[in-house]
Symmetry: C2
Subunit: 371 residues, 2 copies
């Protein structure tokens, strides 16, 4: 822990129980805006830099990886934990979205220990600037985030919203019409609270990255958007807070999405730049695996539906007919894993006993350098 931080007179909210075994966490926890603004102002005057990692909690290695990156590039990291209601549609999983406050705090505490003890700790004052730690966790109430009107999940509902079209209507937005409106709105609010030097988002949510980059550009927000690589489970599944609902059976079949994207990428690597060829290769994979699954008994199989497989321009997310090697492209997709049909006795069906449909997304960036 840094003596400098200890000397700050910010009061940690007592309404939140801390999970760590330490009586005092190594970061401050804020439920409201003014005390965090005071901390931010002090950091600014002390010429320190703030990296901001917005999350909805249910922290996994993907989040921690972003926080590590933020800590490497800033002196202080702010992590927000807020399940934002306006990005969930009326029929989506807001109520069942995992909320794991205690274990989230423990993970952050452990990460701060790791950052504290990393090699090269005997750094000079100059080096220190790029070897930061988590200084604050922002966990606001919904009344703080939506002070005037209650948050709506209706597309035509009233409120103060930020819309980024046509980006927000494409891909994920086609299935989730309020999603990016909610994401952009809550991020603008959070950015206004934290005023970070840099903000961190994971490549796994590639369209979110594009929307946030556009928002920062169009609204002239004084921050830098940094994208961290997708962190994967050992089997390759992209980490997601929703993976806990899959269970072993659906999880294995859920890899179909990455396999399909990789087939398209492989075609590209072999010099096939045409959409029909690349997405044709992906479709072969999804169709074959779905056929295999359908042939199995209900107690053995996991059925799914492909929502989309896309080959798009990296900036506009417009679908493209062929990849321009000068600009690269984004291969992305979404599938819906249906509820398990016939759970076996003692089967690991995941949180919710396999009864919940789970949407999975993934993507591969085809960079110029791949060409």
């Amino acid at each position: 822990m840094l003596p400098w931080t200890r000397s700050l007179s910010i009061v940690t909210s007592s309404s939140i129980t801390n999970a760590g075994r330490r009586s005092q966490p190594s970061f401050q926890i804020f439920r409201d805006v003014p005390p965090l603004r005071r901390l931010r102002h002090q950091l600014l005057l002390a010429n320190r830099t703030v990296g901001f990692v917005p999350t909805m909690g249910a922290l996994h290695e993907g989040h921690l990886s972003l926080i590590r990156q933020a800590a490497a590039e800033n002196t202080d990291v702010v992590v927000s934990i807020y399940v934002n209601p306006t990005q969930f549609g009326v029929n989506e999983d807001l109520s069942s979205y995992p909320r794991t406050w205690e274990s989230d705090l423990e993970k952050l505490e452990n990460l701060n220990n790791e950052l504290e003890n990393r090699p090269g700790k005997e750094r000079t004052e100059t080096e220190f600037k790029s070897a930061g730690r988590i200084a604050a966790v922002l966990a606001p109430t919904t009344k703080v985030m939506y002070p005037a009107l209650p948050p709506t999940s209706e597309l035509n509902g009233d409120g103060s919203f930020l819309t980024i079209t046509p980006l927000a209507r494409k891909l994920e937005g086609a299935s989730r019409p309020v999603f990016f409106r909610g994401v952009a709105t809550v991020c603008m609010k959070l950015f206004n609270i934290v005023t970070p030097d840099r903000v961190y988002f994971g490549q796994k949510d590639i369209q979110q990255c594009a929307v946030i980059k556009r928002m920062v550009k169009d609204f002239l927000i004084d921050t830098e958007v940094r994208i961290g690589p997708t962190v994967r489970e050992s089997d390759g599944l992209a980490m997601s807070s929703r993976n806990v609902y899959l269970g072993t059976r659906r999880r294995a079949v859920g890899l179909v999405l990455l396999k399909a994207l990789k087939a398209a990428e492989a075609a590209f690597m072999c010099g096939e730049y045409e959409r029909t060829t690349m997405l044709g290769a992906a479709k072969l994979v999804t169709e074959q695996i779905l056929t295999e699954q359908k042939a199995l008994a209900p107690s053995q199989r996991a059925l799914f539906e492909v929502d989309y497989i896309s080959l798009a321009n990296p900036g506009s997310l417009d679908e493209i007919d062929s990849v321009n090697p000068a600009t690269g492209a984004i291969l992305s997709g979404a599938i819906k894993m249906f509820p398990l049909e016939d759970p076996r006795p003692a089967e690991d069906c995941g949180l919710g006993s396999g009864a919940t449909a789970v949407r999975l997304i993934d993507n591969i960036i085809l960079k110029q350098s791949s060409v």
Copy 2:
């Protein structure tokens, strides 16, 4: 001019001709964002305060009054001059909106002279903080303000927008559906560029004040919204950049709006809190004056149409049936002055020869203290 400001190494854009007779204006002019951000950062570190007055140019005494207020409450004032295309509807007067860059700069230069020479100039360092001056004029290009997509005037057009509903649909918004979307969007951008301690808006645009207050609250913007009183011509007409299009004849008749609002206010002052009574008094005025005008020859009269006369809650702008003395109310209205029918020889018909319809708005706040 303050020596402190002189020492700043910000380069004034050479692409703008300065109107003042001085070779060097007393404020800096910015066409782009990064140099203004550097100035802002220096002001922050020097513990100075910034008041921001956004304008669309065509400056009149109403704007200057706001700048004086900003200078009284901050050490430094930033004035923006930008005719924002997204707040004009497709059939509105974007192309004919007055653009008076040279005389605007001259007015600002004269105002800085006035601020420089005001009584009590021999102020102490402490007093100085509340006796500021114009430090910068921001006159961005549309490519700076709308960097990704060209600005749209279509309600369904694509872009990055901020919407504040239901506030933005009421009153002015009913006639001008894109107006407050455009205003909120451009103000968010400008606030992000300037990061002012306080922002200044005129009461004349009362709904704009309500929308901006709501935006600052809902998006947790770290600034204070200050409302300056409506500045009026000697005859009582609320100052507006559009008044130059009226000419003498329409201008005289245009006072009908204020007369109607005052009739409603007078009823209120006499203890009549009911909507029907108050707005009935206003309607008597508009109907009588319209009848009088209709009886005149086309070369003598000025016809108009009442768009609305409203009695509303000050925060939500919801129409109310009676005034609650504890919350007060807003009396507001809009009329459309039709083009002059039969201009007389040598008649002062205003800019555009009386051929343009002119929309006028005005309002009176019924405060709790009025009760």
